[in-house]
């Protein structure tokens, strides 16, 4: 018997052509009403509604301990030496290593009931950012690629839709079947992306001159045959020119000195400040990697150090986004490939653990101050509302207004946006 579970039509997911059409319309470089006509298609209208939604994903590489962060179990055999502290949300306590984040909890929410049934770094990384169970030989698009495809503002938006600020820790931000347009643009250690510097030998004037010559040639060809593809192609050069005029977006040094002090001069502080800068410019998806939490040895000393680096800049970023009114449209997630064993090994370490751990969400579309799911007294099992990477992935997309049960139509091929067997965590959505 055929199973007809919810696989809705993809109409709401504006098609590539309508997007390009809009682009051509925006560019209005070439005569003919074609671009304008395409711009008028419903897909784009749909998109304008979701304009400027963004996702910030912080990936804690190595597997951060849920017990030292979002689900503390003080004074139990597994709890470790740290105390739990109250947060800005009555009733929610988190680990004392996160005093600044605790003050921002009213913007955030915790899911304490992940069971991802996995203890492998590579698998965990892939599964958390794709929301699918890894299958050998199959690539699924990274959350950032999905976000970029669905959230990139229409018209002359020249910035990358999917940026990975890499400070240690792997991950490529693969776009898989969504295509290279949505693959991560990497800012290695916060440095500007590749090719955003004009060659020394090429002056801005020369660049403009040769571009005019290119445009003329393309227009001549458009006289023979013009399609959404040719429009998109010529338009991509206009966008590149725009980007070069805006390349300071990638330069965190341009942020005020006092903010550098507030965020801290160290790597993660700088990357959070950079993320704020990018999000302010409506970049739809920014991921910051923070490395590393794979603490098989001296788990507590290392969490003091790493979370000590994480807490203030992250909390400052949340507060700034809220204060600047960006949090309404920015969904925040702090994830890891898995958590760490409740059992403390003989080296004061904690090992890999996917059976009962937590992620932090917040901002756009999320119930602020919510706390979903429970683990037992010493955190060795989920006792309430078990979920996994698939549900979190659905929730993130639902939070920014994407129908996660829909499909992508890629050149006629249909791909479910998220794992069809899973769905969003409804009670976590605002």
């Amino acid at each position: 018997m055929k199973c007809q579970y919810a696989c809705h039509s993809a109409d709401h997911l504006f098609s590539r052509r309508s997007l390009l059409g809009a682009a051509a319309g925006g560019a209005a470089a070439v005569a003919s009403g074609l671009g304008g006509a395409l711009a008028a298609t419903p897909g784009v209208a749909e998109q304008i509604k979701r304009k400027h939604k963004r996702i910030l994903n912080v990936f804690m590489h190595g597997g951060v301990s849920q017990l030292e962060t979002w689900d503390p179990k003080p004074n139990t055999d597994t709890g470790g030496p740290f105390r739990a502290i109250a947060t800005s949300v009555p009733g929610i306590h988190i680990c004392e290593l996160l005093p600044h984040t605790a003050k921002q909890m009213h913007h955030l929410a915790i899911v304490r009931s992940l069971n991802t049934k996995n203890q492998d770094h590579g698998k965990g990384q892939i599964e958390m950012v794709t929301g699918r169970n890894r299958m050998l030989g199959t690539d699924y698009p990274h959350l950032g690629a999905v976000a970029a495809k669905t959230l990139t503002p229409e018209g002359r938006f020249p910035l990358p839709g999917h940026i990975l600020i890499r400070g240690g820790g792997g991950g490529t931000g693969q776009a898989a079947y969504l295509g290279p347009k949505y693959a991560a643009v990497v800012m290695e250690d916060g440095k500007p992306p590749a090719y955003t510097d004009r060659l020394a030998s090429l002056s801005a004037e020369a660049d403009a001159r040769r571009s005019a010559f290119r445009a003329a040639a393309s227009d001549r060809f458009a006289g023979r045959r013009r399609t959404a593809d040719t429009d998109a192609y010529t338009f991509s050069y206009d966008q590149a020119a725009d980007l070069l005029t805006q390349r300071e977006v990638f330069d965190v040094a341009k942020e005020p000195a006092k903010d550098h002090d507030r965020y801290g001069k160290h790597e993660f502080g700088q990357h959070c400040l950079l993320a704020r800068r990018l999000l302010e410019k409506d970049v739809p998806f920014v991921q910051i990697n923070h490395s590393n939490y794979d603490t098989h040895f001296e788990n507590f000393d290392f969490h003091i150090e790493q979370l000590g680096e994480f807490d203030l800049p992250f909390a400052t970023l949340v507060a700034d986004l809220a204060e600047r009114g960006l949090l309404e449209d920015t969904l925040i997630c702090v994830m890891s490939e898995f958590g760490r064993t409740p059992k403390i090994n003989s080296r004061y370490g904690r090992d890999h653990w996917g059976t009962a751990w937590s992620v932090l969400l917040g901002g756009a579309g999320i119930q602020r101050g919510a706390c979903i799911g429970k683990t037992n007294d010493n955190g060795t099992a989920v006792t309430e509302r078990e979920v996994d990477h698939g549900h979190v992935f659905h929730t993130l997309l639902a939070g920014i207004g994407v129908d996660s049960k829909g499909e992508f139509d890629i050149g006629g091929r249909k791909f479910p946006v998220a794992d069809p067997a899973k769905g969003p965590i409804k009670e976590l959505l605002a």
């Binding site: 190595g62 004074n75 055999d77 470790g80 030496p81 740290f82 105390r83 400070g167 240690g168 790597e267 490395s291 590393n292 794979d294 603490t295 098989h296 040895f297 001296e298 000393d301 290392f302 003091i304 150090e305 790493q306 403390i344 003989s346 080296r347 370490g349």
Partner: protein, 341 residues
């Protein structure tokens, strides 16, 4: 009545075992030799009575207790915890209650030491500070700032009027506690620190710190040759400093390198050093002595495989036993002489 058997480290053997509900993290003999106090992965201090073989819990800390010390008379127990508190206890009361509770440090209080005369207690912790407390009234006598990283350990010089502290990065500072001033920086125990670029984190710190009886040498226990900080792949080692020159004279290490940390170190008046390891390579007691008592060399002349990883070491007042806090929820006493059949 005193045991006549002569000290012979090479005959060291387990002479007592006491089981606890949680893994142990610290232990101290009291000066009278009646008790061994120990801390564990709970928020309690236990007073273990060596004759009665019973443990009495001392509850007042809000986190694990890694720092323990006693007044010379043994009347007062001092405990320092990862809750940042320093607590004074009437050591011998039937059910000891805290005599004084001091919020001594921001973040972890990692170690404490009692001055030779018992007048003062030194503590150190994650606020990068070393603090000096009046044993009589618990008042803050002096505060030593200067470390740029978590201060892992502190020890009083047995004769002089100074104390030494060591931080995460192996930086060793000597403070004059009479004047309350920084006296000098000793050579840093650089071998005991590394920034692991793969994991982007620091590994190091003096897990054990002890002076030789005559105060001429200082031993700093930790981990060296770290190739993977997060898996604890590195070798336990003890740096030996000459206090006169303030320089490292020799590194005490296992003949066959052992993975882990030197969690404890003590000097035995018969002229040898005792080191305790725990970590990837398991628990060992190592015994080193200088060649012909040369102070520039140190030869491992005996090692003993322990049933489990060691986490702290304490030499008994009569110098005939060491207590070891073990990760397998056990306090063990090891006698430094031949076992009688």
């Amino acid at each position: 009545m005193a045991d006549a058997r002569p000290i012979d480290a090479t005959k060291t053997h387990v002479s007592l075992e006491h089981k606890h509900e949680r893994p142990l993290v610290a232990c101290r003999f009291d000066p009278t030799g009646r008790y061994v106090f120990f801390g564990a992965e709970d928020n309690l201090v236990q007073r273990f009575d060596l004759s009665a073989k019973t443990a009495t819990p001392l509850a007042a800390h809000d986190s694990w207790v890694r720092a323990l010390g006693c007044s010379p008379s043994g009347d007062v127990l001092y405990s320092g915890g990862y809750d940042g508190r320093l607590i004074f206890w009437p050591a011998a009361d039937e059910k000891p209650r805290p005599a004084r509770v001091i919020d001594a440090h921001q973040g972890w209080l990692r170690a404490l030491a009692v001055s030779p005369g018992g007048e003062q207690i030194a503590t150190c912790g994650n606020d990068n500070l070393v603090k000096l407390w009046d044993a009589a009234d618990g008042k803050l006598v002096a505060q030593f700032a200067g470390h740029a990283a978590h201060v892992y350990n502190v020890a009083f010089h047995p004769a002089g009027k100074t104390l030494v502290s060591c931080d995460l990065k192996g930086v060793l500072k000597e403070w004059n506690w009479a004047s309350g001033k920084h006296q000098r920086d000793l050579n840093a125990a650089e071998a005991l620190y590394k920034y692991d670029t793969t994991f982007r984190a620091d590994i190091g710190g003096a897990r054990g710190l002890a002076f030789r009886g005559d105060g001429k040498q200082l031993a700093v226990g930790g981990i060296t040759n770290v190739t993977n900080a997060f898996a604890g792949i590195g070798n336990a080692a003890v740096e030996l400093l000459d206090m006169a020159e303030g320089k490292i004279v020799v590194q005490l290490e296992a003949k066959e390198k052992v993975n882990g940390l030197a969690w404890g170190v003590a000097y035995h008046p018969d002229g040898f050093w005792i080191g305790l390891t725990g970590g990837g390579g398991g628990g060992w007691l190592y015994f080193w002595k200088g060649e012909g008592f040369s102070e520039k060399t140190a030869i491992e002349f005996f090692k003993l495989k322990l049933p489990n990883d060691g986490r702290d070491l304490s030499l008994s007042p009569d110098k005939r036993q060491v207590a070891v806090a073990h990760a397998d929820k056990t306090l063990r006493l090891y006698s430094l002489f031949e076992k009688t059949a």
